[in-house]
């Protein structure tokens, strides 16, 4: 089987046509579109946000009252004889306003920030639901660490925007509008002068924040890369140790770590400017008021009370102005993160539920391939496969590495996309069968068994909702796992560690088989499930499984021909095509590839028995 297309299994592997992940460089303008989805979340909670806004209005009204009361108090002090009230009266009013302000403040903050946490919760739920709905090609494309980073760091940025961001935007708007209104009432011309520095500052900040967006996005990407690196390193812990690659890994990490540091410093250099720029805006305003306002008081066109109140309002503008830089930063980061979340939320799996599902509830196990073709990329990987499998048939699939054995069986439960009109179960196009019905009917044991870090019992019980202890034990017995489990310290309650690391390869595989058996499927697919077990275990498993098969349709992938011998039909694949098919005896009689391989295996056996 020299150099043929099928050997390119990896080359074009899994590059299905999907929009590229690489996003165009962000501009401030795109911020808006990224945030459109967030707006819909806010709208669904508009009652809460409205209430929060009202609370903010309340608390700020109290705050705005205080400088005015100060003005009245100062005027009273300046002209005690004309004063209608004593300073104590105004002091009491100030304290009353302060208490009211504080009380409402608690509600405004909890209302809005709790809402942000709830939106975060909801968004995380939707992200996870999306992941559950995405197909295998997606997960082979995306790095786990990258997805995780979206769930943690990006979600945090978005939450900050929805909570503190929104809170401060509302706050700023209220304070700006109200304080400016009151300042204009005190002295329109002075107001005009006092706010001169502000637009200038905002302009500067706008420019700063545009490059902040780019830098923040880069920092996010570097962080995701860093997470991926750690994730991979931890998963490969054994290889790293066995090959003494610890130091090389550290070096590599240092590089990734350094790039992340650099991207963060890029942000820090900009952020360093934000605070002093914004703070000076306020201070320059005060300066103008001091100079111009002072002259007016001296000239008698402004009262001292007005001057004090004016200063008070100007001081109230300083904080929101300082915060504005921070909010802009928050918005940029939030938008950058939201675009990364949108990437997940908008991802579309190629394997989806049929729009018009066929009315089918149970499948009998009849499988038909009609000119089945499949490719991971451009080059065909499987081609011209036509075959009808009757319910209850046992089919073996043999062939060299990369000949498409696994791909063929993976297509039946639609782990990978199948074109219409190529695979039929009970005469129904597989794409028209609801995914739940389809997958419930299939017990699939993949090449690499994946176990969850739960107990061994939970892992087997995964095959069936609400499986009882008895059923789990039966499945374990059928998969020849029962004796092993009895030797575990806590029996079925023994935790298997992450990905089942505390089990041997064979135990993992048998647990995966037991899990599939428990499902009681009409079709059982074993994708080379015996690779990690020895001869004796293999015999045990095959022995007890044969009894279980009954009238189920069974597909076994193996390159150990002895495992396929009892099958009703054996397919021999090569380069994604069926080159031979028939029963064991037929194939031997055909004297082709199968027979050659069989003889080779036999010959070795004979040499060894010699």
């Amino acid at each position: 089987m020299p150099g043929k297309d099928f050997d390119r299994a990896g080359s074009n592997g899994l590059q299905l046509d999907v929009p590229s992940h690489k996003q165009a460089n962000g501009h401030t303008e795109r911020t808006i579109s990224e945030l459109a989805r967030l707006y819909s979340y806010m709208r669904s909670r508009r009652g809460t946000y409205l209430l929060g806004g009202l609370f903010l209005l309340g608390t700020n009204s109290c705050a705005l009252l205080i400088p005015w009361l100060m003005k009245l108090a100062v005027e009273g002090l300046q002209f005690p004889l004309k004063a209608p009230h004593s300073p104590a009266y105004y002091a009491l009013l100030i304290i009353a306003a302060a208490l009211l302000q504080g009380t409402i403040r608690i509600f405004s903050r909890t209302t809005l920030l709790h809402a942000a946490r709830r939106i975060e919760f909801q968004l995380r739920e939707e992200l996870y639901a999306k992941l559950l709905a995405l197909d295998l090609p997606y997960f082979s494309r995306e790095r786990t660490g990258d997805i995780l980073s979206r769930f943690t760091n990006d979600l945090t940025n978005v939450r900050m925007l929805m909570g503190f961001g929104v809170l401060n935007v509302i706050n700023t708007v209220i304070i700006y509008v109200a304080a400016l209104f009151l300042m204009v009432r005190l002295s329109p011309s002075l107001t005009a002068f006092a706010i001169i520095p502000f637009p200038l500052m905002i302009l500067i900040v706008k420019r700063l924040s545009a490059s902040m967006f780019r830098r923040s996005k880069r920092a996010q990407e570097e962080l995701a890369r860093l997470s991926s690196h750690v994730e991979e390193n931890v998963s490969a812990a054994t290889v790293v140790r066995a090959y003494c690659r610890e130091d090389a890994q550290i070096e590599e990490f240092r590089e990734v770590n350094g790039r992340y540091l650099e991207s963060n410093m890029g942000m820090a250099r900009l952020r360093g400017w934000m605070i002093p720029v914004m703070a000076s805006a306020g201070a320059f305003g005060t300066l103008i008021v001091l100079f111009l306002g002072g002259s007016r008081v001296i000239a008698g066109t402004l009262t001292l009370g007005d001057f004090v109140a004016f200063n008070g309002y100007l001081a109230m503008l300083i904080w929101p102005t300082i915060v504005m830089g921070w909010i802009l930063n928050l918005m940029q980061r939030g938008a950058a993160s939201m675009s990364r979340l949108n990437h997940v939320l908008d991802a579309s799996g190629t394997v989806t539920d049929p729009a018009e599902p066929a009315p089918v509830e149970r499948l009998r196990g009849e499988i038909e391939f009609r000119n089945l073709a499949f490719s991971y990329g451009e080059e065909p990987f499987l081609a011209d496969i036509s075959l009808a499998i009757r319910p209850g048939m046992k089919v073996g699939i043999a062939g060299p590495v990369g000949s498409g054995k696994s791909s063929l069986v993976r297509l039946i439960p639609r782990l990978y996309p199948v074109a219409d009109g190529q695979i039929f179960l009970d005469g129904i196009d597989v794409n028209r069968i609801p995914l739940v019905t389809l997958r419930n009917a299939i017990g699939f044991v993949p090449q690499e068994s994946f176990l969850f870090s739960r107990s061994i019992g939970d892992n087997i019980g995964y095959g069936k909702e609400g499986a009882g202890a008895g059923e789990i034990a039966t499945a374990a017995r059928l998969a020849s796992l029962e004796n092993d489990v009895h030797r575990f310290p806590d029996g079925y309650d023994t935790l298997v560690g992450e990905r089942g690391v505390t089990l041997s390869g064979g135990q993992k595989q048998r647990a995966a088989i037991a899990r599939a058996l428990l499902k009681d499927p009409a079709i059982l697919i074993l994708d080379d499930p015996l690779s990690a077990v020895d001869a004796r275990t293999e015999e045990e498993i095959l022995g007890s499984l044969a009894g279980y098969y009954g009238d189920r349709t069974v597909l076994i992938v193996s390159h150990r021909l002895s495992a396929l011998r009892e099958c009703d039909l054996i397919l021999v694949l090569e380069a994604g095509r069926v080159v031979e098919q028939g029963s064991h005896d037929d194939l031997l009689a055909m004297d082709g590839r199968y027979a050659a391989t069989w003889r080779e295996q036999q010959l070795r056996a004979e040499i060894e028995t010699f």
């Binding site: 998963s235 812990a237 090959y243 003494c244 320059f284 390869g505």
Partner: protein
Amino acid sequence: MHYGGIYEDEIVGKAYDRRLMGRFVGYLRPYRWLVAVTLILLPPMAAARLAQPYLLKIAIDNHIVKGEMEGLPLLAGWFILLILAESLFTYAQVWLLQYVGQKVMFDLRLALFSHVQRMPASFFDRTPTGSLVTRLTSDVEVLGEMFAAGIITIVGDIMVLAGIIGIMLWMNLKLSLITFSVLPLLVWVAFTFRRRMREAFRQVRARLANLNAFLAESIGGMAVVQLFNRQAREREEFTRLNAAYRDANLPVISWDAALYALVETLSSIAVGIIVWYGGGEILQGALTFGALVAFIQYIEKFFSPIRDLSAKYSVMQGAMAALERIFNLLDNDHLPSSKESPLPSGEGGRRPGEGPIERIQFRDVWFAYSGDDYVLKGFDLTIRRGETVALVGETGGGKTTVTRLLSRLYDTQRGSISFDDTDIRDIPLKTLRARIGVVLQDPYLFTGSIEFNISLGDENARRRVEEAARIVGADRFIRQLPNSYREEVRERGVNLSAGERQLISFARAVAFDPEILVLDEATASIDTASERLIQEGLRGLMAGRTSLVVAHRLSTIQDADRIVVIHRGEKMEEGSHQELLAKRGLYYRLYQLQFRD
């Protein structure tokens, strides 16, 4: 439904803030000069900030009230200078803090990563990947926030507060004391808050770690979830963890809001008190208008850092919790993973781990992955130089464990393994592992090129990449890839078939040209044709090397010099293929089972 797995709560004991901080300060040491500069910048920054209200007082009292224009422009000039100075100092300080902070984070991440590299393989059996990733990313990120909003800034704030108290007392003792009467309440509030927040934050972080661990696993096992139609149940469990995380956060927000509001209210109440008492003083002529206005400005400046003290406190608490978890990981050192310095010369004048190894000896080796569930029970084995020994037996019988112990991925509990009478625990781990080439049961591939996956970035190995690939018969399929050896392998090698991945891991072992070769069920899941190719390659590789092969297929070990049959952790039979067959014992049965027909 609670799975009660290892990702469940790992809320740690009491927090010793001082101890944690003390230790953290150690990480600042390399940057102590930069820290010193930021500290030196603090007093002038505080002074520039505090002089502003006092200028206002002078302006009001000496000019505005008196109606004197002269000198007002000069005051304005001073004001501008102060503003510029404050901005400059602030910028320098913010930038320096960020710089130091990012550097420390860099160091800490590197320290964590390096530490994880020193952990024995057994550590990873118990620690979920997700929580390690959290430790290196989110937890360290939180420390970054501490730098942006925390420690040194707090020192600056305290300096400003002390300055304000000083100026106020100096300006008017009585008015100051009356104004400060609200402070005890503030202190009480801050302490109550502190107690409540600490517990709440710990909960938050532990629940976040659970959530992430669950998520990481869920992504890894997505195919299984979908094949078994368990999306609804996974979602249910995820929702439970997600809600637990959300619910841990809500009280934190409420407490934070309460503190913020209280500080703000107290600040306004203080203003009220100043108006009340100060107003009386003005009427009596004991206080000037300018002083009253300055007082109010000072009190606003006084409460403003306290107001975001709550925010800073949250950040600090978060940082403490994060530090605790980071240090916990750094302190997790349950196994002496290696002796870094080699032992002094042995009797033969040869240092352990150098020169050809004549004899590998397992003596009465006992090993259990957990508790006293022994996988190996008094295992003995001697392997001579150049010999190929095959381990045969049932799955779970302990074959793989034998190979793991040899390269010290795990350490024996009892008994010893030695190279020419030197216990392998006395050989530097690197020296030991550099001599052993391991082909693991599950070939793990990294994201990177095929070439990188064979050489793992090692210089010497890189030169042998193609030769190694040829020896194991991987060269043929690699050359057919569009980019040949530069073809990128995606996460965990999903774009390669299982057989191809194994061929690559074989090539990897060959490229490192080890003296001892350990093959763990290496020929599994490879078709007969590839198996033949590989066996030819391996034959060449094993020549002159001491090899320990775990085999579940008897055909792969026909060349073995000796076969050892392991059964339930004990050595049952030993000998050549023919001898063992003649014995008609366990080996004979294993053999019969596979090739019965």
